[in-house]
Every structure is written in C-alpha cells, then in structure tokens.
C-alpha cells in the first residue's frame, strides 16, 4: 500500500466555509483521518474532513490541485 496525499479540510464553526489547511501522507483513509486530526490539532474544529488529492480535478491551473509539493510529510504544503 503506497502512501498517497490526502488534503485536509476544516471549519472552526458551523457557519464558516470549509478551509484547506494542509495535507498528510497516508496509506489509507483511516490512517489519513487519524494523522490529520493529530497533526492539525491547533483548534477545536467543528468539522474536519480528508480526501485523496487525486479526487480533485484542476480547473484553471495546470499544476495538480492545491499545488502541493512533495516535501517532508505533515508540513503545511500550500504554495
């Protein structure tokens, strides 16, 4: 099971829009959920969700969605 990149989306309050806060590398969605929850734990999130980055299709940019550069895992990687 090769690792893949999961994007992490959060909102602090119910009325907030979902925000892309970063990403994690994980071998499956269950592990991605734990890694996301434990890595981006700076707030008491109303909601957090993860999705494989491959699930997103770029619309107006050639680069992969969210322009993630594969650097050290776990760090915020939004260009």
């Amino acid at each position: 099971m090769a690792d893949q990149i999961y994007v992490v989306l959060v909102r602090k309050n119910r009325e907030d829009p979902l925000r892309h806060i970063g990403s994690v590398h994980a071998s499956d969605p269950e592990l991605a959920k734990v890694y996301a929850w434990k890595t981006y734990d700076e707030e008491r999130w109303f909601e957090m969700a993860v999705a494989p980055r491959d699930a997103f299709y770029p619309v107006n940019r050639e680069e992969a969605p969210f322009d993630i550069v594969r650097r050290s895992a776990g760090s915020p990687e939004v260009a």
Binding site: M1, E30, L31, Y35, T39, A73, G74
Partner: protein
C-alpha cells in the same frame, strides 16, 4: 442520573475498595502505556506517525492524571501515587511490563492493549459514581483515534511483507493471553455491576473485547491467538499474576525521577 453517588463515603467499604482498585489499575496502565508510546515519538516509520504517537502518548498521560486525581476521594495522595512508588507497586496490565522494542510491538500495544483499557473504560461510562463518569467521556473521545491508529497500522503491517506480518503475529501471540487475563474471572466485578458502578463482569468485558478485536485482527490478515485462561495466582486487587511490575526504567521515567533530581539541584536556598 438517578441514584448518582458523588462521594465515596456513600459506598459500602467493599464497593469503595473495588472501585479504588479498578481506577488505580486503569491509571497505572495508562501511565505506563503513555511512557512506552513515548519511546516511539521519534522512531515511528513516518513523520505523521511520529506526530500521532506523540499526541497519543500525551493523551494517555492526561488520562492517567485525571484518574490518579480521582483517587484523592478514596483517601489516596495522588502525588505519592504518581511519584513515589516502586515498580512492584504498579498495577498496570501485565501486557505492558515489557518495553515496546519494535514497531510491530508498538502497533500491537496500540491496537490491542490500549483497546482493552478502552473496553474497561466504556464499562464505566454510565457508572453512578458521578466524578468518574464525568472523566470517562473525554477519554473515550480521544481513544477513538488511538483505536483507529492501532487498527490501521495493524492492517498495514499485516498486509505488508512476510517479515512484517510474522513479527506482528508474534507480538500479538506474546501479549494476547495477558490481555484476556486482565479482565479477570468470569464473575469478577459482579457486585459492582449489580451496584450500578460498572456495566460488565470480567467475562462480559472479555467477550466484548474479543468480539471487537476479532474483525480487526482477521481484517489485517492475522490470526486471533488461542489462550487457556487460568486464574490461580491472579490477584483481584492488582489484576495481575506476577508482582514484579513494569520495566524499572519506564517507572523511573513515569515518576519523573530525573526531573526531581534536577529540581533538587536548583532548589537550594539562595544566599
């Protein structure tokens, strides 16, 4: 909740003793597992796992503090419990006596031993001893993520190389029987159950644990070990069969021996 009890003075002395022993066993198990997890904060196979391990380790430390503090109501001095006991006085689950020398051993502790503690904790979620009930909920919320982490890694190792799978099965085989024994004989805790303090006897909690772990283990391509239960020599107060206790180095770290040495050096009165 009806029939809530807020003070231990309202319990029979038998109930007081049983609840005290149960809380201490959980507190010590959580303290020791937190210390053993901490060994892997820098050694896990990937950065995200390091972060998760660090956080899980801190969760366990926090849980044990909550539980030790509760024992004040039972006439204990939490400070002494946390910092002044010898390994032989610890009442942690025997499956945590050894260090977690390899990552598969860590994963088995995370997936199996931690989950056994959670099954016991869940049995207290509706306890009529209100101070305990109020402390259980937060712990259970955090344990959901511990369990998910353990299960995901068990699956990953079980579906990995033959070497990883056999090391994981070996770690599982080594600890399984100790975990099953920790729940006690089938009728252990029957009085506390009928008194509304807990919702399961030893046999019932063991069955819940096996039922929960079986799909996790089999889903990882591993085998549920077989175990012969034998409770001769099993002590109901410590829920242990041996009196040796956990690894002395782990206890020294749990007690904060080095912190105290440092504190003593700097606490000389200034002239």
């Amino acid at each position: 909740m009806t029939n809530d009890v807020r003070s231990t003075a309202d319990f029979s002395s038998e109930s007081q003793r049983a609840l005290h022993d149960l809380i201490l066993s959980l507190a010590d198990s959580k303290r020791i597992i937190g210390i053993l997890y901490a060994d892997w904060v820098l050694g896990a196979p990937e950065l995200e796992a390091n972060i998760a391990t660090s956080s899980i380790s801190q969760d366990e430390w926090g849980h044990s503090r909550l539980l030790y503090a509760l024992l004040k109501d039972f006439g204990e001095d939490p400070e002494k419990l946390e910092h002044e006991r010898e390994p032989s006085e610890y009442r942690n689950i025997e499956a945590l006596d050894q260090r977690l020398a390899t990552w598969p051993q860590f994963v088995v502790a995370n997936a199996i031993i931690d989950s056994a503690l959670t099954v016991q904790l869940e049995a207290l979620a509706g306890t009529r001893y209100a101070p305990l009930r109020q402390r259980v909920q937060k712990q259970l919320e955090e344990e959901r993520f511990h369990e998910a982490h353990g299960a995901a890694w068990l699956r990953r190792l079980g579906n990995s190389s033959n070497a990883a799978r056999s090391a994981t099965q070996e770690a599982l085989d080594a600890r399984w029987s100790e975990v099953l024994h920790w729940f006690g004989p089938d009728d252990f805790g029957a009085a506390e159950k009928s008194d509304g303090l807990s919702d399961g006897t030893g046999g019932e909690l063991r069955a819940r644990f096996v039922e929960r772990m079986t799909p996790v283990i089999q889903g990882a391509g591993l085998e549920v070990p077989s175990a012969e239960l034998d409770f001769s020599g099993w002590d109901p107060a410590s829920r242990r069969s041996n009196r040796t206790g956990p690894d002395p180095e782990a206890v020294a770290r749990a007690r904060g021996d080095r912190n105290r040495a440092f504190f003593v050096e700097t606490a000389e009165p200034e002239k």
